[in-house]
C-alpha cells in the first residue's frame, strides 16, 4: 500500500510515506540520471557510503540531508518537461513535510548531532559544491534512491 512507514531514529519516531516518494522518483529516475553527465562522481557516497554512518548519527544525518534537499537541491532541478517538474514538486513537498517532523525531533533533542555526522555531512556538501549548481542538484536528485534505500 502507498502508506506511511514509521521510522525509528533512536528516540525520534517519524511517519513517512516512502512509497509515495519512491514512486514519484521512479517515474523520473531514468530521465534525471540521463541528464547527469558525470557518472564517475557521487554526492552521497563519496568517499564512503552512507552505510558507514554510525547508528547514533543516523537521525542527524537524515535531518541534515532532508534540509539539504529542500533548501539546496530541488529548486535547481527545474526542467523543460512539465511532467518532470510536477513529479519533482511532489517529492519536494513530501520532503518538506518530513523535514518539519525531523525538525521537531531536533528541537526536542531527540535527533542530536555528533562529530561523525558533522564530518559526513561536510563531505557531502564538499562533493556538492565541487560541481556547478545545476549539475550538483541534478546529480543529487538522481541519487535519491541511495538515500531512500539507506533509510529503509
Amino acid at each position: 500500500t502507498a502508506g506511511n512507514k514509521i521510522f525509528h531514529f533512536g528516540p525520534c519516531r517519524i511517519a513517512m510515506s516512502v512509497t509515495e516518494i519512491r514512486s514519484g522518483f521512479t517515474a523520473i529516475k531514468a530521465n534525471i540520471q540521463a541528464r547527469d553527465p558525470i557518472k564517475t562522481l557521487s554526492i552521497l557516497s563519496y568517499p564512503h557510503s552512507l552505510h558507514k554512518v554510525k547508528s547514533s548519527d543516523r537521525c542527524c544525518i537524515i535531518h541534515r540531508l532532508f534540509n539539504f534537499y529542500v533548501d539546496k537541491v530541488f529548486k535547481h532541478c527545474k526542467t523543460e518537461d512539465s511532467y518532470i517538474n510536477r513529479k519533482i514538486s511532489s517529492i519536494a513537498n513530501s520532503f518538506l513535510s518530513v523535514k518539519r517532523k525531523l525538525g521537531q525531533c531536533h528541537e526536542q533533542n531527540k535527533c542530536l548531532c555528533g562529530q561523525g555526522s558533522a564530518e559526513k555531512f561536510q563531505q557531502i556538501l564538499a562533493n556538492y559544491e565541487g560541481l556547478n549548481v545545476t549539475s550538483a542538484a541534478i546529480k543529487s536528485l538522481g541519487e535519491l534512491d541511495i538515500l531512500l534505500d539507506w533509510m529503509e
Binding site: G3, A15, E20, Y83, S89, S94, S97
Partner: protein, 204 residues
C-alpha cells in the same frame, strides 16, 4: 476594445477517498468557446521557490469546468490552486481557490463490501479503492459482540477468508477504510450477516 474576460468564480475542491477534483463555474461569452487552464502550488513552492506555480498540462486549455488534480496533490501539505479562462486572444485574470487544500481533509466513505458464506467459510469481498487504502474488518458471531474479531487487510486482491463458521449461528461483518498517509479512517460500513448451512451459500 474587448471587454475584460472575467476570472472563473466559485472555485472549489471535491475530494472523496483521496481523489481530488478542482471545479469552477463556467465563464459565459456569447457565441464563443471558453477554455480554462489550471495551476497548483505546494507549500514547497511557496516557501522555497518564490511562490512559483506549476501548470497541470492535462488541464491546459480545456473546455470542461473540472480538473482531476489527484496526481499532483501527492503530499500532505497545504496546496494553492488557481484557474483562468481564455477566449481567442483574450485571457482572464487568475481565479484562486479560497484557502488552501490539504488532502488530510478528503472525505472517506465506508467501503463497499460483500460477505459470502461459502459452505462453512466466512469470506468477504472488498472494493479496491487504490494503493493508499487499507481495510479494518470486524466480524463476530451474532449476539457475541463482546467477542468481536478483527483483521487488517493491507491489500485487496481477491476474496478474503475471515473465519470457519459453525453451523447454525449468524456471523456478522462490518468494515472501514484506513488511509495511512493521512492517518484517518472512514466510518464503518453497514453490517452484513450470513449463516453457514451445509455446502450451500446462504444470504440473510
Amino acid at each position: 476594445e474587448d471587454a475584460l474576460l472575467p476570472a472563473p468564480q466559485n472555485i472549489s475542491i471535491l475530494s472523496t477517498n483521496m481523489k481530488h477534483f478542482l471545479t469552477w463555474s463556467p465563464v459565459m461569452v456569447q457565441g464563443e468557446t471558453v477554455t480554462y487552464s489550471v495551476e497548483f502550488q505546494g507549500e514547497y513552492e511557496r516557501e522555497h521557490v518564490n511562490e512559483s506555480w506549476i501548470p497541470i498540462c492535462e488541464c491546459s486549455r480545456i473546455t470542461a469546468t473540472v480538473c482531476n488534480i489527484t496526481e499532483d496533490i501527492s503530499a500532505t501539505v497545504a496546496y494553492n490552486l488557481r484557474v483562468r479562462a481564455d477566449v481567442g486572444a483574450r485571457r482572464s485574470e487568475w481565479g484562486t481557490l479560497k484557502g488552501f487544500f490539504n488532502r488530510i481533509t478528503t472525505s472517506l466513505t465506508p467501503p463497499l463490501m460483500k460477505v459470502i458464506a461459502d459452505g462453512y467459510h466466512l469470506l468477504v469481498e472488498l472494493q479496491d479503492m487504490g494503493p493508499a487504502f487499507q481495510f479494518y474488518v470486524l466480524y463476530w458471531k451474532k449476539g457475541q459482540e463482546s467477542r468481536m474479531q478483527h483483521k487488517l487487510v493491507k491489500e485487496v486482491s481477491s476474496v478474503i477468508h475471515l473465519d470457519t463458521m459453525e453451523a447454525g449461528p449468524d456471523y456478522c461483518v462490518k468494515a472501514q477504510t484506513y488511509v495511512e498517509v493521512i492517518n484517518r479512517s472512514s466510518s464503518f460500513s453497514q453490517t452484513q450477516c450470513v449463516r453457514a448451512q451445509g455446502g450451500r451459500s446462504m444470504w440473510l
